[in-house]
């Protein structure tokens, strides 16, 4: 008799189960199904986002941020037709200080050829940023990443990171950490000649 499993409600099973109504989704079931599909979609989206890295081609995400030490904003799409070099930095970041003079020099070399440099200070305290700009003698425009969204749009992993954006607003080149001077120059030339 070992094969018979005990069922305390065995009596009921001797009676035919009546046919149920032919409804597939009860409200309860529908809610569960919807929630499940939604969560699967969210996870899929999240995994896709996670797999993405800094844009190395395609349109550069736009931003419209307040200038540091000056009135007004810097809006990326206002500079269509010019090459834009975007540099993410922070006053607390040591490598940023190291590369800053090179960027300044590069800007001085190219500012008359339709190249715009813009620095974006991330997670920074405004007065620290201003002191940094002053100390290093940076004269190209710098903005605050107010709200922290631009940093996310460019999926930066830290600072410094540099993007070269072509005249058509497409990313031409991305530099992780400090770019070598010759590499940055080559990228700018490439963008200018495109």
């Amino acid at each position: 008799m070992t094969e018979s499993t005990y069922d305390p409600y065995a009596d009921e099973q001797r009676v035919e189960q009546p046919k149920p109504k032919g409804r597939i989704f009860t409200p309860f079931g529908a809610v569960i199904a919807l929630a499940a599909v939604l969560m699967v979609a969210v996870v899929a989206w999240g995994i896709y986002q996670n797999e993405q890295t800094q844009p190395e081609s395609g349109p550069a995400p736009d931003f419209d941020l307040p200038l540091l030490g000056a009135e007004g904003n810097f809006k990326l799409t206002d500079y269509r037709g010019e090459v834009v070099v975007i540099n993410f930095w922070g006053s607390w970041c040591v490598p940023c200080r190291v590369e800053a003079p090179m960027l300044q020099q590069m800007w001085e070399d190219y500012q008359d050829q339709g190249v715009v440099f813009v620095g974006i200070a991330v997670k920074d305290i405004e007065r620290d940023s201003l002191a940094y700009i002053d100390e290093l003698g940076i004269t190209y425009p710098n903005v605050m990443d107010k709200g922290g969204q631009t940093e996310k749009d460019y999926r930066t992993q830290g600072v410094p990171e540099t993007f070269v954006v072509g005249k058509d607003g497409e990313v031409v080149k991305f530099f992780f950490a400090q770019p070598r001077e010759s590499d940055l120059r080559a990228a700018i030339e490439e963008a200018l000649n495109a």
């Binding site: 008799m1 018979s4 005990y6 305390p8 409600y9 065995a10 009596d11 009921e12 099973q13 001797r14 009676v15 035919e16 189960q17 009546p18 409200p27 309860f28 809610v31 922070g90 006053s91 607390w92 970041c93 040591v94 490598p95 997670k123 920074d124 305290i125 405004e126 620290d128 605050m144 107010k146 709200g147 922290g148 969204q149 992993q157 830290g158 992780f176 950490a177």
Partner: protein, 176 residues
């Protein structure tokens, strides 16, 4: 290969950071009239992305130290706690506070779970009522109508261990 290169670059990157990263927590210069307890009170309820899961007050990174220093400075200038929080939220995104400060975000953020809870309550309450009114299975109803023995009237024992009862019933089954 590209990934490997990236990993290598990241470690170089981190290395170049080394002297800066090993800064210690707090040690901010406090303006007159501001105590470390004041800074802690605010920074303990704020968060920075650098230290996920740890409040700003306990994050050892340089960025966070600068933030705490700024809190101390703003306190010295007479800003209130909530002014400072909204100032940071404005500048660094709403994630710096534990609960979003913007009314719209608050309404969505707190309203949605509330709505879901009420919905769950309706579902559960509905099932309870349904069970109360017509919970008896049609099979059982049929069985009772046919005069078959049913365990419906079996008392629900509460003073007997359920496991023991179960084993006992199994024994009875086997004896049949």
């Amino acid at each position: 290969m590209k990934k490997l290169l990236k990993v290598a670059l990241i470690s170089v990157f981190l290395l170049s950071f080394a002297p800066a990263v090993v800064a210690q927590m707090s040690g901010e210069e406090l303006p007159p009239g501001v105590t470390a307890d004041d800074v802690y009170r605010i920074s303990n309820k704020m968060y920075c992305e650098v230290c996920a899961g740890v409040p700003l007050s306990d994050c050892p990174s340089v960025t966070c130290r600068a933030w705490r220093q700024e809190i101390a400075r703003l306190l010295g200038e007479g800003y209130s706690d909530s002014d400072i929080k909204s100032y940071f939220a404005e500048n660094y995104g709403s994630a710096v506070t534990g609960v979003p400060l913007k009314t719209e975000d608050r309404n969505i953020g707190l309203g949605l779970p509330a709505l879901l809870i009420v919905l769950a309550g309706v579902v559960i309450g509905g099932r309870l009522l349904l069970l109360y009114q017509r919970g008896e299975s049609r099979a059982l109803q049929a069985a009772r109508a046919a005069g078959l023995r049913s365990d419906y009237d079996r008392p629900v024992p509460d003073n007997v261990d359920a496991d023991a009862l179960e084993r006992f019933m199994r024994l009875v089954e086997e004896r049949k």
